[in-house]
């Protein structure tokens, strides 16, 4: 079966790379699912969770990451997710994210609230 080669890179490090059969991400105009053989694409991502269905030597599984301020680009079976900040679901500290969410709500900081919310959702989806 055809595969996607996925690279998830944040500004200061490579977060994850591997093979996948499908990637679902949220662009500014809505959710997009990419499977092997998709047309070359370059899209702006919204802050949100990205779901990668993995295949290959790591076996079938799902990797979820919270991505803020990024892009998705796909050509020739190679898919790159670029983000200023990207965290894998199992790296996210749920307690801290909850605290950040509460604090953001208290301060009515919409962007911080959204970031914390995305992290929480990614963390729960990844479990």
């Amino acid at each position: 079966m055809a595969e996607l080669h996925v690279e998830l890179v944040a500004a200061d490090r490579q977060v994850w790379s591997g093979r996948a059969s499908r990637v679902v991400a949220r662009t500014v105009s809505g959710d997009i699912g990419i499977m092997p053989g998709h047309q070359p694409l370059l899209a702006v991502l919204q802050s949100g969770p990205v779901t990668v269905r993995t295949t290959g030597e790591t076996g079938e599984g799902t990797v979820v990451a919270a991505v803020h301020g990024g892009f998705i680009s796909y050509t020739d079976g190679k898919l790159s997710l670029l983000a200023e900040i990207a965290e894998l679901a199992d790296e996210i500290d749920v307690d801290r994210a909850e605290r950040a969410l509460e604090q953001a709500r208290a301060e009515a900081d919409a962007s911080a609230e959204r970031r914390a919310d995305v992290r929480l959702r990614a963390a729960t989806a990844g479990r």
């Binding site: 200061d12 997009i32 047309q39 370059l42 899209a43 702006v44 301020g69 892009f71 680009s73 790159s80």
Partner: protein
């Protein structure tokens, strides 16, 4: 102990203490280079992917964007100069500043007004001492820059280029920083960040066309090419600045290591030659004492010989 000898001993002691300090600084810098190099390497995948994406949009669509098209008659330019907060790095800062000055004078020669943005305390004090205007400056993070720092530096630059030159905006952004080539070589560089130069000559493009590789696929832009470019270019600038900051930090540590290594070597040489001088002083003191004793004894002998007669 003679006065001369005591002076030499004291100087040897003080040079030894200095040597210990410079050796420690050399070790610290050496360990930091490795860390800084690792961070440069870690930021590379993002920068590479971003460059690919930017050139994909710029070549794959005929969008005219203020950040990619050159102004017909550029009037104002911004220069970002990256120096360090601390000295003791040999010629590192003066070379970086020289590169910045060179860049500025070239722009002025082209008839542009230049806004200077400075990172690092050394650069800031250079400008304040000469009472020259700096549009904005940042200090405090040059040893260990984070992406958030790069974003903070990039924000006013991006804001300036989006504004019209007539209203205090700029048409071009240039950057002067020190590139980390290897442990031994760090070169000051002058680069133009914006408008984007897709540095490919006509011959090169013809070559890639003939070989049929490196040809950009036809992308589908979501939501539209303009909006993708709008979102992409600020990130591109941030990432370039981040990379420049990281390279400058690595270069600074390398320069410090080299400066401190030669300081340690010099201290060693000095201790050696001071040791020689101290030995000579001690020896001459002994010789003098002996000759005094011998002289005294013979004078005494002469005196007694005279009185016996």
């Amino acid at each position: 102990m003679g006065a001369q000898l005591r002076v030499y001993k004291r100087r040897i002691k003080s040079v030894t203490a200095t040597k210990k300090i410079t050796r420690a600084m050399e070790m610290i810098a050496a360990s930091r280079i490795v860390k800084a190099q690792r961070r440069v390497a870690a930021s590379k995948p993002y920068a590479d992917e971003l460059t690919v994406a930017v050139s994909a949009v710029a070549q794959g669509s005929d969008v005219k964007h203020s950040l990619t098209t050159e102004a017909d008659r550029p009037r104002r330019a911004a220069v970002l100069l990256i120096t360090s907060d601390r000295g003791l790095a040999g010629a590192y800062n003066s070379n970086a500043i020289k590169a910045g000055e060179h860049l500025t004078s070239e722009l002025v020669a082209r008839g542009l007004e230049v806004d200077t943005y400075v990172v690092g305390r050394k650069g800031v004090s250079y400008y304040t001492f000469r009472e020259r205007a700096v549009a904005q400056s940042w200090t405090g993070f040059t040893d260990n820059p984070t992406y958030a720092d790069a974003k903070a530096v990039a924000a006013p630059l991006i804001e300036a280029i989006e504004r019209d030159a007539g209203e205090g905006g700029v048409d071009e952004i240039h950057i002067a920083f020190t590139e980390f080539e290897s442990m031994m070589t760090q070169t000051p560089r002058e680069r133009r960040l914006l408008p984007l130069t897709l540095d490919k000559s006509a011959e090169e493009s013809a070559e890639t066309f003939a070989k049929g590789r490196d040809v950009q696929p036809l992308y589908d832009f979501e939501p539209s090419a303009e909006q993708v470019l709008d979102a992409l270019l600020p990130r591109y600038v941030e990432s370039r600045i981040y990379n420049a900051l990281l390279q400058a930090a690595a270069s600074k540590h390398a320069a410090t290591r080299r400066a401190m290594k030669s300081a340690t070597d010099n201290a060693e040489d000095m201790i050696k030659s001071l040791g020689r001088l101290a030995n000579a002083a001690r020896q001459s003191e002994i010789t003098q004492e002996i000759s005094e004793i011998v002289g005294g004894a013979s004078a005494l002998a002469d005196a007694t010989a005279g009185s016996e007669r």
